[in-house]
Amino acid sequence: MRRFLIAICLTVLATTARAEIDIQEVTSPGGINAWVVEEPAIPFIALELRFRGGASLDLPGKRGATNLMTALLEEGSGDMSAQEFQSTLEDLAASISFRASDDSISISARFLTENKEDVLALLRQALLEPRFDQEALDRVRAQVLSGIASDAKSPNAISSAVFNAAAYGDHPYGSAIDGTAETVNALTRQDMIDAHQNALAQGRIYASVVGDTTADAVSGLLDDLLGDLPQEGPPLPDDITYDLEGGVTVVDFDTPQSVALFGHRGMKREDEDFFAAVIVNRVLGAGGFESRLMTEVREKRGLTYGIRSYLVPRFHAEVMLGSVASSNETIAEAIEVTRNEWARMADEGMTAEELDAAKTYMTGEYPLRFDGNAEIAKILVGMQMIGLTPDYVINRNDLVEAVTLDDVNRVASELLQPENLHFVVVGQPVGLESTP
């Protein structure tokens, strides 16, 4: 019997705030890991589970299967129908949510301390013994189809769909996890059973528990909760290189405000320059009111309510994206200003003052994120999934502080490529046409 418990006492020291968070790493007798933060002040517990893979494990021709399967986990299991399962949860004043995304399945549970055993028994039953009743399958399928229909008329959803299809083609990143009306209509109960077998593998679990419990107690419950899931899942998809050329794709849609989604290749999370890239992005477009894009496009010209850029380091590809919405008459100007700002940062970099302001914000803001049991639990599984260790919460601000002006300006010139930005514009933009 293997059991060990490392308790690491972590104190986050930041420029402006100290958050004390004591992350304990536990491994169950059966070998399942979890990170635990004991917070007895309020008598409830937040549990967060992630399974790597998610919708990227959809089998050929079965796009949407993992998403539909995940939605069905709360729709009946063991000897309980959907309604029995949910009314039992309600009587316990607990919530469990199941959500599929591109590369993972997330499960978030919140329950009062005194109901821990009953809620965990229900969660175990949902994970291990889902019924996939035909009635539930058809009912939830209709809800998914309704969402697909709604996305087809949403400028934001259209812009994502067109951008992703152009950038990633047949890779799972190239299509929405919901699937299409055609693929979803064709899904059967057997497809749900297959997706379930593939998506919830022990070897792909990341877990955290935050709240009114102890590390020992968590270590003791993991095997019962998760130990009977399949050991291994099928292979994950290959990485894909983003190589969409710069240009403009206009999607005609009759609406008064055009929505633009734009981007080019980004940077891997494990790249040693990643924090420099985060700072470049913050000063360029992720800094709320302080960013250059907000200053130029919103504050000075009044062309938009919001514009932002963001780094998206995913498991199989990395991109840098941005989005802006402006009236059909003014979107061309908003895009021109955006390109100019992109080029100005690439060519001239930022000032020492901008770098300092970004660092002060980032180091000061970091401890404020650890706000509430469920928030902390989500941060902890997110860290585990990208291979960080608990001491990252101590070291993270030092990594930010270590970035120099030379670093950010070198990275800005390498990362930002205004000529390679591809803009997908949904609406009826005046003065913009698709490039060949």
Binding site: T88, L92, N115, S146, A152, S154, F289, E299, K300, G364
Partner: protein, 443 residues
């Protein structure tokens, strides 16, 4: 199942009353101060609430409350335009603001030792805003794009705006918070300054500070920064145009090609939470849960999504925390092949059946338990607790009303629910709206 029922009995008894620690003061100039202590993390939320919202606007200037909220981030006599947010960010904090029908609120979330700086800056912009016509012109572009993004580009939001305008026949709750587009286009510097000069004053404001603070220290800082600002002696009584007796049911169809599937909504006027009189509002919270809370256990969900496949989505909701009349609403998205008239008839059948039947005591108990537990979960989010007090106090409720509200909810009986339902479900006080992509779907 029996095992779980046993556990439930234990849970109810063990859920001891646990509440936030709240201290209140009133400054000499009339400003109210609420301090909520939460020492779990060295963080503070500083919120300033003005008891003025879009429903207090002069006719013809819809959107001015929200526009002024934007302009408050421009300069003051000591801060350059945009400097307020820059300083908050440079201190590792975040800041923002929001406008509703009844209030306008500004907040910062920052390390607890930066509270004084936040107060100093927020107090400075209560009286010393310095905005230029050029800033007003540019920012008007921003709010028009905000309206584009929230409303003009969203068929559902446009439909909702039309229905709400019909539900309120006299009250300004029928006018969108962001404003009607044609009036927003005309808003100018003077409109903003007139509104600001009249309403932004300590005797029309509530300070809420929540987090790792000591009440007496907050009071000392509040006296130093806010206490020196003179009260506004022209502040008008808050008496807004009220609804006349409503005598005719309203029905509307909103047609927009961007609607992905037809649906039906119905809203009734409903009583709001009033000072010392919150029982009807509490009963309406139960009514919404019983009729259309969870799709798995509510009357509409069970009848229309499980027992029959009439709908793919059903909901009932109560919006009751307002200074004046609130709303009780239903919405329903029909299943494939079910027309809107069939769906609406099915919805009305469920409501009639509910009114004619006994309410299951087990459902009442379950809702009661969930409401009690939600008070425990609420303690985990200090900012939301701060919002609870700020909103309530700006809507004429008292600290005591906020604190007894969980008990008022616990005391609701099935008879209370039935009585308030009978009062609210009068079609003469309602708007029924169909939202469709073409006329064909409205047949």
């Amino acid at each position: 199942m029996t095992r779980l029922f046993a556990a439930l009995a234990i849970m109810i008894s063990a859920m001891a009353a646990q509440a936030e620690e709240v201290t209140t003061y009133t400054l000499d100039n009339g400003m109210e101060v609420v301090v909520i202590e939460d020492n779990r993390a060295p963080v503070v939320v500083h919120m300033l609430w003005y008891k003025v919202g879009s429903a207090d606007e002069p006719a013809g200037t819809s959107g001015i409350a929200h526009f002024l909220e934007h302009l408050m981030f421009k300069g003051t006599d000591v801060l350059a335009s945009g400097e307020f947010s820059s300083i908050v960010a440079a201190n590792g904090g975040s800041d923002n603001a929001f406008t509703s029908y009844d209030y306008t609120a500004y907040f910062q979330r920052v390390a607890a030792d930066r509270l004084e700086l936040m107060m100093q800056m927020e107090a400075s912009r209560m009286n010393n805003l310095a905005i230029t016509p050029e800033e007003v012109r540019t920012e008007r572009g921003v709010i028009l794009e905000e309206r584009n993004q929230r409303t003009e580009n969203d068929a559902n939001a446009l439909a909702q705006e039309q229905f709400r305008a019909a539900l309120y026949q006299n009250h300004r709750y029928g006018v969108p918070i962001i404003g009607w587009k044609h009036e927003m286009e005309q808003l100018d510097l003077q409109d903003a300054l007139d509104f600001y000069d009249l309403y932004y004053a300590p005797n029309n404001a509530i300070l809420v500070v929540a987090g790792d603070v000591k009440p007496e220290e907050v009071l000392a800082l509040a006296e130093q920064y806010y206490g020196v600002i003179p009260a506004e002696d022209q502040l008008p009584l808050r008496e807004r145009p009220q609804e006349p007796p409503q005598r005719a049911e309203r029905r509307m169809t909103y047609v927009d090609a961007r609607v992905s599937q037809p649906y039906v909504v119905r809203s009734y006027l409903a009583p709001e939470r009033d000072p010392g009189a919150q029982t009807e509002a509490a009963a309406l919270v139960y009514l919404a849960e019983l009729l259309g809370g969870s799709p798995f256990t509510s009357a509409l969900g069970q009848a229309l999504q499980f027992d029959s496949q009439t709908a793919i989505y059903t909901n009932a909701s109560y919006s009751g925390q307002w200074l004046d009349d609130g709303t009780f609403s239903f919405s329903l998205v029909p299943a494939e092949g079910v027309s809107l008239s069939e769906a609406e008839a099915a919805m009305d059948d469920v409501i009639s059946t509910f009114m004619e039947s006994e309410i299951d005591p087990a459902r009442m108990d379950s809702i009661r338990t969930q409401l009690r537990a939600s008070e425990i979960y609420a303690l985990d989010n200090t900012q939301r607790l701060a919002q609870r007090y700020g909103a309530a106090l700006s809507q004429s409720l008292t600290v005591e009303d906020v604190q007894v509200w969980p008990d008022v909810l616990q005391a609701v009986t099935a008879e209370d629910v039935k009585a308030v339902a009978a009062k609210v479900f009068d079609r003469k006080h309602s708007v029924t709206g169909w939202v469709v992509s073409n006329e064909e779907e409205a047949r």
